[in-house]
Symmetry: C2
Subunit: 238 residues, 2 copies
């Protein structure tokens, strides 16, 4: 018994701290989370934080990098599949739309499905609100990737060049349809009722987002023609 407990604590101290960090950092942010609260939540001695991670900030960075790795492994294959479809010049509208459907499904599942994705999204939002030094990890490792895939996919479907400003903004708006269910979760649960979204809710959200994106693609008309060649507004166009 003692050995088990000890063994667990030893090998898993880092992991327990990172779990606690993911939860508490997501809930209250780095600044408002105390090392003592972290140690208590993890069931670990306070000094384990400076010892294993060099301090609270170090734990935060470790949590970020680890969680981003996990999430990227979840979405990565889906993203690659979509990218492959986009890169294939002979891919028809049907295949591109199929790729879109899997992309929506992947996003909804990853963002809303697992419970730890809640904390992940919370930390991501905190970084969007007040970017810390770790913002780049999120942006380059996640946000930009997903946005890039949507941009390529919609570019093919709408016939817009990948550098188009309107295309990039449209990709964001389309993503927003899914993201809002994560961002506004607290409020949404009050509107919909209940303490968490049921599987039926998730399935409905998925289908309805797919259907709306299909409608957007079908009914597309240029909205900002005068900005057509306005990729000049893009600085880091790449």
């Amino acid at each position: 018994m003692k050995k088990q407990t000890t063994k667990n604590a030893e090998k898993e101290t880092r992991q327990r701290l990172m779990d606690a960090g993911l939860r508490l950092f997501g809930l209250h942010g780095v600044g408002a989370t105390s090392t003592r609260a972290l140690a208590l939540e993890a069931g670990v001695n306070l000094s384990a934080i400076p010892y294993h991670f060099g301090g609270k900030e170090g734990l935060y960075r470790a949590v970020l990098e680890h969680t981003i790795g996990v999430k990227l492994a979840e979405v990565g294959p889906g993203l690659d599949r979509v990218l492959a479809a986009c890169a294939n010049p002979s891919a028809g509208r049907g295949e591109l739309l199929a790729a879109m459907r899997t992309l929506v499904r992947t996003m909804v599942t990853v963002m809303l499905g697992s419970p730890e994705s809640r904390s992940f999204s919370q930390i991501m939002m905190q970084e969007q609100i007040a970017p810390t030094g770790a913002f780049n990890i999120f942006h380059d490792g996640f946000f930009a990737k997903v946005h890039g895939v949507w941009t390529q996919l919609l570019g093919r479907l709408l016939g817009l060049p990948p550098e188009s400003l309107e295309l990039r903004l449209r990709a964001l708006a389309v993503m927003g349809q899914m993201v809002i269910f994560r961002v506004g979760m607290s409020g949404i649960l009050r509107v919909v009722g209940g303490e968490k979204l049921s599987d039926a809710h998730l399935e409905c959200i998925t289908r309805l987002c797919i259907q709306q994106v299909e409608a957007i693609v079908a009914g597309y008309e240029p909205a900002c023609p005068e900005l057509g060649a306005m990729s000049g507004l893009l600085e880091g166009a790449q």
Copy 2:
């Protein structure tokens, strides 16, 4: 000179503290914002916080209530106009679509236009992440109102009953197209380039959101038919 300074400080101490609070609470949250930072930012003595607001939390509530009042005054008229159109049984598709366009324009302007709206949205996001006792103020006073208007409007345009679960979720998804530009601002600025969205960007976002909502309305097909009568999933249907 001295009198002016003095006079300003006297009459405006509360206001200055609330301005500072809006900015700092939005940036770092209540827990991570120190009274000293607030006093410094406001150019005011530290004791003014307990004196005028009873403490940091009191200042937070005051900031919330005041700012919500201001924002509601900005959107209120626009919302009412849309509600009036929805309530008018003889309103045709054209009038409803016109109402939709002003609703999109209002949301984009209020959320992305003014600089203090940034802090407001940031605080709103903080409350969505970790609702405090003040969450109700936001939800009932803002979120639920805007969502209700979108629900009514889309209900008319799509021919769905106001209690429909799919309708409510669709209203959220549609709102998400605009909300994401506020929520993901930090990341968006990296994607688009620059330090803030220009007027040209805002106009493009507005038009493109309008066009996409038009497409969604035009291309609507029920996505969750089996949930058609599933307002049973709604607890507080009202």
